[in-house]
Symmetry: C2
Subunit: 309 residues, 2 copies
């Protein structure tokens, strides 16, 4: 799957993943109105609104980007119907040829991580049958529990030719509270990054990259520069561009000399573009066109930054 | 909710939480057979089997223990029907008067943690209506992202009078890989524990305990002793008893002088008791009676250990 992700990045020329994190405040009124007319102001209605919203965006951007990253929390909050909307979104994106990164940040003791790995990347056995529960291509994984929380994901990734992105240095303001603390003179995130590199050694795609990637926030470009060297074969998933404050020029350190090695996420900067002054001319009715324009602008911003490096 | 948990511990005399982590291999054949006859060997069939299995156990133990802890991964692996079985299990346990600790180990950047907090402990707004998606009483939280990943949970806890247990030192073999690393001469888990104490200061129940608790594994009693002092007002959720290797005598350091402050989890040791030699006489047909016997034995083991201290 890392090979597919790389080939799609090369084909689209856009190392971009669109975060499908549909908060209700991003969903245009006309979509909510239709969904509530059909299902009422219920969890089902919210899930239907989210699904229709996503579908519009995916249709508008699927030829431009290699991947999407649905954030499962935004679906879980709408209960079982929300989780069904997550499943439908994953499936629809895959039908449209997109690589799907499930932003689930799971991680637990071994037997439990195994169940999460099965849920999101693998197949579960039911009697004589096997089923795929959610079937993303990649999942994000929290490393706090150490190797036994991560290895069950690696096992499933090997079987299914899928991948993970392990949280190393997250994009949020307080990420340094634990992640930056020095251990033997090195920040904790660097220790985690070294483990990501070690886990990745035995999980190589057919080219120079492993299918064990890392998450490092665009909001921390200096740390990105260091982690790029610590994990040369890891693809870095970079959140924090746009709404969280990361700029095009901040992204350069995350890429390798081959122009690869990083994929930049933007969520509300793309999916709620129509709510920004810059794209207000599209109006809520044409929110998906605004998202398309925002993707094109982001693609240009990254290309310029990489060209100027 | 911490007050309710404490009062139920005192009433039952059992500082015990039963982990409802229903792997398919724990579910007796007769339950699987009935569920598959009704729903086929499908995700729906698996979810029905899990739900019927849980129901039997809950009916057999609900008068003995204060709380249960469903592990959401075991449900997620069965997809949307599995998540529905999780929801039904949570609701049923609450109907039976049990405190429900959702073992979800969520944690993310602020806006995303907010969605998780809403999903598992709060209410989500849909138009003019508000709904509870899963509605556990407590949730477990992963601290790797720092305060902004935890504070949205605290906000919802304050509004809803619910609580969280933050992962501090987990029970698994490799938990030391990152958690034990020394930062300024103290292990990382201790720093996290100090934060748990700080977060808890502003979240006190009506007695001596905060509704910000911590997870410290029974498999690490020495670390438990230290953390008991670092977080005197935090209730400690202690996994790892039984199947993971923790013994009754290991549990003493987790309790305060008042005999409170800890709640011990056992999952497969209780729910799959009928598969152990000790309880084999019950047979698969009476698996729930075996679970009841295992709870009584665990209660006795803990009482003896505490009496001998």
């Amino acid at each position: 799957m890392i090979d597919k992700l790389i080939s799609k990045i090369q084909k689209t020329g856009a190392p971009i993943v669109v975060g499908l994190d549909p908060m209700m405040k991003f969903v245009p009124e006309q979509i909510k109105k239709r969904a509530f007319q059909e299902c009422g102001e219920t969890l089902e209605g919210a899930a239907e609104a989210v699904w229709q919203f996503n579908k519009g965006i995916v249709d508008a951007i699927c030829d431009l980007v290699p991947a999407v990253k649905p954030q499962v929390a935004m679906y879980e909050q709408f209960g079982v119907p929300g989780v069904e909307a997550f499943r439908k979104t994953v499936n629809y994106c895959k039908e449209k040829g997109l690589v799907v990164i499930g932003d689930v940040k799971r991680g637990d003791i071994g037997s439990t991580s195994e169940a999460y790995a099965v849920a999101h990347l693998g197949r579960v056995q039911v009697g004589s049958q096997a089923y795929r529960a959610f079937d993303e291509d990649f999942a994000t994984v929290n490393p706090y529990l150490g190797s036994d929380g991560v290895k069950p994901f690696l096992k499933v990734c090997k079987e299914e030719k899928k991948g993970i992105f392990v949280l190393v240095k997250t994009s949020n303001p307080s990420s340094g509270e634990f992640q930056d603390r020095l251990v033997d003179g090195k920040p904790l995130y660097q220790l985690v990054g070294e483990q990501v590199a070690a886990w990745g050694e035995e999980c190589m795609g057919s080219g120079s990259y492993s299918y064990v990637g890392a998450v490092v926030g665009a909001t921390y470009p200096e740390q990105g520069r260091i982690m790029r060297k610590v994990m040369p074969k890891a693809f870095i998933l970079v959140p924090g561009y746009g709404a969280q404050g990361g700029k095009g020029s901040d992204l350069v350190p995350f890429f390798n000399e081959d122009g690869l090695g990083a994929i930049i996420n933007s969520s509300r900067g793309i999916i709620a573009a129509y709510q920004q002054e810059q794209y207000a001319k599209y109006g809520a009715e044409n929110y998906a066109d605004a998202s398309r324009a925002a993707v094109l602008a982001m693609k240009e911003d990254i290309a310029q930054a990489l060209a100027a490096k």
